[in-house]
């Protein structure tokens, strides 16, 4: 479904991705982990064509994303839903208008159907009766959940989640994780989750990809990753800092 081949990207001489390759099968749930600043958000933005690589390519269901112009990309992006790390809600619109955004623009459903669908989805993310609120009136965790609602409301085939549970309390985190699992199982979506949260890694990931030094450092099932003897992986999953980094 998603094939990333030898992806390279640098920002003004500062290399971030230096030849990342992997592929994700249809219906799979993959978790991408890695240290803060290692390029996870950059990678996920390449998968949906928000950023274009310096070299290498991304294919979605066999179709090449790389090098397409914005209009062609819009059609391909309709197959995606994406939750941004910062939620990225439209702050001039209400929660309801945010969630209904794409459905209203497509104009394929009646206002009544859209309203019903939005109410359902807000119920699913446990935010009933927030329809008329503006994003500035919501807490960080609530914004994330509205972002999630906006991404799943139009039933995309592929869902990209950039840190869906960061900054949420453990109870809500658990319910978001279960939601991700449920959505991927019921709707057979392919999901890609970027996370730092060890618990959500276990809960949502069928496969884990760890990025380090601009490359795919290891790839494997959660069991393999958690029992890994590699010092970098071991320290990451157990949350142990490198003694050399604590030198001051």
């Amino acid at each position: 479904m998603i094939e990333v081949t030898n992806l390279k990207k640098s920002f003004e001489e500062h290399p971030v991705l230096e030849g990342v390759s992997f592929s994700i099968a249809k219906g799979d749930s993959v978790v991408i982990i890695g240290r803060s600043g290692c390029g996870k958000s950059v990678l996920i933005k390449h998968m949906i064509g928000l950023l274009m690589p310096d070299s290498g390519e991304v294919r979605i269901g066999g179709e090449l994303l790389t090098g397409k112009n914005e209009r062609e990309l819009l059609r391909i992006r309709r197959r995606f839903g994406m939750l941004f790390q910062s939620a990225a809600l439209f702050d001039s619109l209400t929660v309801e208008d945010n969630v209904a955004f794409l459905l209203r623009r497509e104009g394929k459903m009646t206002q009544g159907q859209i309203q019903k669908r939005v109410d359902e989805v807000l119920e699913v993310v446990e935010l009933p009766r927030t329809q008329k609120k503006k994003p500035s009136e919501l807490s960080g965790g609530m914004k994330k959940r509205v972002g999630l609602a906006r991404a799943i409301v139009y039933k995309p085939e592929i869902l990209l989640y950039d840190e869906p549970t960061t900054g949420l309390d453990p109870v809500v985190s658990d319910s978001i994780d279960q939601l991700i699992v449920r959505v991927s199982e019921q709707l057979h979506v392919t999901s890609v989750v970027v996370t730092h949260d060890i618990r959500s890694m276990r809960r949502v990931g069928k496969r884990i990809i760890m990025l380090a030094q601009g490359l795919v450092y290891v790839e494997g099932s959660p069991e393999e990753i958690f029992s890994s003897r590699d010092p970098l992986v071991h320290r990451f999953v157990n949350g142990i800092s490198d003694p050399k980094e604590n030198s001051f």
Binding site: L73, R78, F90, L102
Partner: protein, 257 residues
Amino acid sequence: MPQFIRTFNSGLVQLGELTLLVLEAFRSILKHRPDGKDFLYQLYFIGVKSQSVVLITGAFTGMVLAAQAYFQFHKVKMDTGTLALVSVSMCSELGPVLTALMVAGRVGAAMAAELGTMRVTEQIDALRTLATHPVDYLVVPRLMATVIALPLLTGEAILIGIISSYAVGVGLMNIDGAYALKNLLYYSSAETVFQGLIKATIFGGLISIIGCYKGLNCRDGAEGVGRATTEAVVMISISILIINFFLTLFLSRVLAP
């Protein structure tokens, strides 16, 4: 590379990107049905909310122009030419230019700040993931609104400018109103007015294209937004003044009776 070549280079790049944005906007207007509600909102924000600014600018420009013209004309006993001078300069130059400069400060800055904030908070990226082209959703309604609002606002500024110059000239300086009006009508042709309105339309396009361009290409952080806003206002104002000169040369030839 020496500094001036780099500046020249980035100027050319900006010009190229602005042209591409204009082309994309036209393509979008022709191919994709613009959203009526957004357009109306922008028209309201740009047209209705700029009223006070435009009225004050028009009125006081007309008044000061009438007073100064009277002082000079009075020396050569041409008092009744005062209103004609005000009318011609308001219609062809001051009306469109001053209106556009005032709207640039209000609306161009607002566009750059709004779109710039949307960019740095990833809202533009979110728009793109929701299968919506930023030009369709953000640029086109603003472009159409300024292109329609600017000629109307300019007409209003011209009208209020002439009325207030009449009040100053006839009411304060005791010019003969009938002769002054006759001269006004004699010297202000339809072409003069038309020239002003064409200019206003072009300035309208300029304001939103540059405002949106600066916002969409804003750099990260609060500083980036601030800089985009300033740059937008400066660039719009400078280009209005420069383009105005060439438009005057061009239009006076094309519209010459």
